[in-house]
Symmetry: C2
Subunit: 332 residues, 2 copies
């Protein structure tokens, strides 16, 4: 490990399993040679000697209003993590806590890339039978959008698909309610026109494939799905809720009779890949695109593996100059 390499700041207090599981994830990263800075309350970080720590006296809860929490809790682990990036003490930040508050502190402390109208949350969507997920953005940062922002989301999504998943010419779809260009809300119709322009597609090496529908979120023929943060968040949570509902019904069925249990045992090896693909732990965290630094939001239910993944991705994107690539594509 390069002794001078900057660490990834990890919010030790964010998520359902904080701080213990988050710290375990940070330890996994350390073992893999990725430098980490743990940010959290002194009590939570006592006894940690192998990982550098930074104390913060406050914690922003999952249910708190992002903007006001970030304003009020200046000494929170989230705000301090963002400041570590701003001040050059960390190259990236990771949190499994309040997504909105992570966005707010990153925006306030690290700031946005010049030319970016609104940063967006880009969430990986599992594609069954394919390793590479699709990318959905905005999945919740901006409840209301104008058509120009959606074009910028498309640009940023394309750069992210290239840097993170090595997709050379990402296929970008606009989420709407019918495949024909004339379908959808006025926002979708207007965005369709702007997205059909060749100029931005050339700039980010992306390809606009037209309208896609809710059923295409897991479609392997698409790479990036663009929408406003309201629709994106509803779609993301519908997908997660449906998968969870079905998986939980399956598990119930598996233990419902001795025959079923015997059958489930025989099926287990064949079902494991599907189960893993649907597991939020393995899909990886969402990224805040448009921020002048790498900020990853891991799922609230993250365990050590998910945190380790998020730290690895944050580290990789930072060293691969992802933010610089975004800056090159965004029209000033």
């Amino acid at each position: 490990m390069d002794p001078n390499a900057l660490p990834v700041a990890v919010d030790a207090m964010g998520g359902d399993n904080a701080p213990s599981e988050i710290i375990k994830g940070a330890e996994l990263a350390l073992e893999a040679g990725i430098p980490v800075l743990l940010v959290g309350q002194p009590d939570a970080l006592t006894g940690i000697s192998d990982i550098p720590t930074k104390f913060a006296s406050e914690v922003i809860g999952m249910g708190e209003d992002p903007a006001s929490a970030v304003r009020k809790k200046k000494d929170s682990s989230l705000v301090r993590s963002a400041e570590a990036v701003r001040d050059g003490h960390a190259i990236a930040m990771v949190s499994a806590g309040n997504t909105g508050a992570t966005m707010a502190s990153a925006l306030l402390k690290i700031g946005r890339i010049r030319g970016v109208s609104r940063p967006a949350i880009a969430t990986p969507i599992p594609v069954l039978g394919r390793t590479k997920p699709n990318i959905l953005l905005d999945s919740g940062a901006n409840a209301e959008c104008n058509p120009e922002w959606l074009v910028q989301f498309a640009e940023m999504g394309a750069v992210y698909a290239r840097d993170r998943f090595s997709t050379s010419k990402p296929k970008i779809g606009l989420l709407s309610i019918g495949e024909e260009p004339g379908k959808g809300s006025s926002l979708a119709k207007e965005a369709f026109k702007l997205l059909s322009d060749q100029d931005w597609q050339k700039r980010c090496s992306g390809e606009f494939v037209g309208n896609v529908e809710g059923r295409d979120l897991m479609n392997p023929d698409i790479d990036v799905i663009v929408t406003d943060g309201f629709t994106g968040n509803v779609a993301l949570k519908t997908l997660e809720g449906t998968a969870k509902s079905i998986v939980s019904s399956l598990l119930d069925a598996f233990s419902s009779t001795p025959e079923a249990a015997e059958g489930a045992k025989l099926l287990a090896p064949a079902l494991l890949p599907l189960y893993e693909r649907l597991d939020p732990e393995s899909v990886g965290g969402a990224i805040l695109l448009g921020i002048k630094g790498v900020a990853i939001v891991s799922h609230g239910s993250s365990g050590p593996k998910a945190i380790f993944n998020a730290i690895s991705i944050a580290h990789e994107l930072s060293t691969d100059k992802h933010v610089q690539h975004l800056e090159e594509v965004i029209r000033r």
Copy 2:
């Protein structure tokens, strides 16, 4: 069967399996004592002697633009089905065809209930482990809505939940991106305020339970989910697509190895109820609420069972005076 009872008009030409499977569904209804009127092209209806028929020379395709198709194809099976209701030759209509065109012909020929601003499509959403589905509206008729319309959707959804599923005090949620009242788009925030009013809740015997999220579509603690037609359609198709993706991956896994196939055989009895619950055939069709007559849109992939279900529901709602109940609740 009452020889004077009015039939349900069935569009024999609508859906992926038209006309043969649609006709089979109509025959099932006839066997169950429900009078049917089959509407379709002469060729498709030759040789049918047990069911009354009405000829229409044209067919509106699944991909056609609803408004212009209904305007141009005056002698289409869909338009003629709606006219049969308008002219008192049928008590209700059923189609597995183009949803938008069904809405357009019903709206144009049968008309809307006095006081209804915009009819909405109400779609049943399977709730795993419960027989009664949730109701999602608007699931696609109105891409853009104002907050007042959403209150009317809530009223109509409550009446429908009572008439169709015997839910005495339906719980109504507003689809948004956070449970707190202040969350969401300006449409959602404004609608939240109007929905919090006690007056409409009393009128329709519904109960507003606040914001719900995408993950709540299958939540057994809710009965009716209200949203605009853009968000509703994206959510519906995301749910359908996710379920289809998972089920198809499961079926692949079941036949992947001899052991898996053996396990699947043992599991089959335990999995069957889940499979059936997720099957669009068993969930039943969507209804167009706000039309001055019962109009049911069955899933495009409908087979005889789904068509039979749709006809039964249409017949039951008509004889139970569902439209009259809506008229009593809608404020003029």
